[in-house]
């Protein structure tokens, strides 16, 4: 699917800022066309311009250092044997990682993985079906449905927390990783439906018509034609669902209090609660282990998003 990305976007990845902004350089513009030369003359790329650029660079770097400093502490603590809340000389040891895994981080990350995968599978399947039906079929009350989807994805989650807890008490679904995943999936479904419906709207219908004439049934058309074509959108929706479930804190805190089911988010929190006895080194390692999958998925996601809407070339003009 990577080939779907337009060539000129090959160099963009983590920083969506990296592509040419408005003031993409007077010199480049001047090479392009005579009009641009006259613009360049208006701009006067003189010493004052260069000075402004230097000022912009330095303020930007200062802000960047401000954002970077807390992260440096985290990395420093994770790799240092005598980590405290203060900065110390890192000793490049992986001992903290080994220690935190043997003290329960491994199992908790496994639990997070379970919540993430199960809720992603549920939410993705449900949203593909609904998104396709909303995009292609006549659905009664479609406009109302879509509006409620939008409204629900903006609702403060706290409002649902206590009722969901009560419903789970009545159904006997408390302390079950599976039903916790169902609740997490439901939490992502409105946004995923909205995203996939809009994405499938962009998929050309011609492929489906061709498949229908060949005699394919609707399930086959969805599975063999629509799903592959909408794959970038499906991946984005499922990655966002996974990230949401992976980091989920409040819902598991309330509806699954079984210590064996503790996901990593709550594991880290209970380590913070130890307060004076905090072991900064292993806990920093724990936080890094917990963050890496999300960072990787975000990188993947930005790649897919850039290539996302580039499949129009499949239809003959």
């Amino acid at each position: 699917m990577r080939s779907l990305r337009p060539k000129q976007e090959e160099d963009r990845d983590l920083a969506p800022l990296a592509d040419g902004g408005l003031g993409a350089g007077v010199a480049q513009a001047a090479q392009r066309s005579p009009v641009a030369i006259s613009r360049a003359q208006i701009r006067r790329p003189d010493r004052r311009d260069r000075k402004q650029r230097a000022i912009a660079n330095s303020i930007l770097v200062l802000l960047g250092i401000g954002f970077l400093t807390p992260m440096i502490w985290l990395i420093d603590a994770a790799f240092s044997t005598h980590a405290s809340s203060a900065l110390s000389a890192p000793s490049l040891t992986f001992a903290n990682f080994g220690k935190t895994i043997s003290e329960g981080a491994g199992g908790a990350i496994g639990n997070s993985l379970y919540l993430g995968i199960v809720s992603t599978v549920i939410a993705t399947v449900v949203s593909i079906l609904a998104g396709y039906a909303l995009s292609r079929h006549r659905v009664p009350l479609k406009a109302f449905f879509l509006l409620s989807v939008l409204f629900l994805s903006a609702l403060p989650f706290q409002l649902l927390l206590i009722p969901i807890y009560e419903i789970y008490v009545h159904l006997g679904w408390l302390n079950s990783p599976f039903y916790t995943s169902v609740a997490l999936a439901a939490n992502s479904v409105p946004f995923a439906i909205w995203l996939l419906k809009n994405f499938i709207d962009q998929v050309p219908r011609e492929f489906e018509e061709a498949a229908a004439i060949e005699g394919a049934g609707s399930v086959r058309i969805l599975w063999k034609v629509v799903v592959p074509l909408a794959m970038p959108g499906i991946l984005v929706a499922s990655i966002l669902t996974f990230i949401n479930a992976w980091g989920a804190f409040l819902l598991p805190l309330v509806i699954d209090t079984n210590p064996a089911d503790t996901p990593a988010a709550i594991g880290i929190y209970s380590n913070i609660l130890a307060d004076a006895q905090i072991q900064y080194g292993p806990l920093a390692a724990y936080a890094i282990l917990f963050s890496i999958p999300v960072i990787v998925l975000y990188l993947v996601c930005t790649r897919w998003l850039h290539g996302g809407f580039a499949f129009a070339g499949g239809v003959k003009g």
Binding site: F67, L87, Y132, L134, Q158, L160, E209, F249, Y280, A284
Partner: protein, 307 residues
Amino acid sequence: MSADLAHRARRWRPASAGPGKLRPTTTLWMFPATILMVGLFVAPIGYAIYLGFTNIELLGPHAQVYNFTGLANFDRMIHDPEFWSSVKLTLIFVVVSGIIAQTIVGMALALLGQRANITFRATVGSVVVLAWVLPEVAVAFLWYAFSQAGGPLSEIIRRPHDDLLSTVPFLIVCVANLWRGTAFSMLILSAGLRSVPSEVDEAAQMEGAGYWRRLFKVTLPIMRPTIVTNMLLITIGTISDFTLVYAMTGGGPGTATAILPVYMYIEAFTYNALAYGTAIALALMAIGALISVLYIHQLRPELRKAQ
């Protein structure tokens, strides 16, 4: 054979092209999503409105058998000084550390990125985005450790013996929120900045307008819809934020950082008062809805133009 093909082609109909019949597959495919959304969104909303008017508790006799108590919870709320201090904290948290600070810093990063070299823009952009991508609990731990006595932050401000989460807890929580949330504004606003036609700016430049004048009189007014939308999205994201604050401070010391979501959790699940917690959640939703209406009111000229 060809008649069969023609028949199939006729039978297959791109449904939204016309008001065709409701197909059984449509019902089937909408079913799971409808069940999930009715079961875990619509029913809970209705249930929440009901529970807010009862005396249900987490444990004890009122956990099983509870009654309708009318406006008792809301009466208690109006006379609860901790509730009002929580509302005040929430508004500061959302408006100052969310809407104002994140828009200004995000806009500054977007504007500086426009003028700076591509290397600096890409590097600083990545760092800011990384702060946003990290899981909330990791960010909470990061800032918890960062602001301990003897931690890097206390060294930077030269007061190494201050535990900043005890002396200025709410300020630290707000800074952490700004640190985490700015990337979103930066991404949205720099995309908005890129869509401002350069001809307009150049025309103003030919008229002799300086940088700041062009920024405030040309660029920002064109970007108004983007800025307002961004503020709305920040509000929706910040008003229900629980994890960052609760994992850092637990709402304390005392109730110094108990924004409404945290106060609601503490009332419901620490102090047993599920019904009162639900009433607080309803108040939270009302505040969120009120702010959203203000934004939509602001966007009305643009919405009318779009129609």
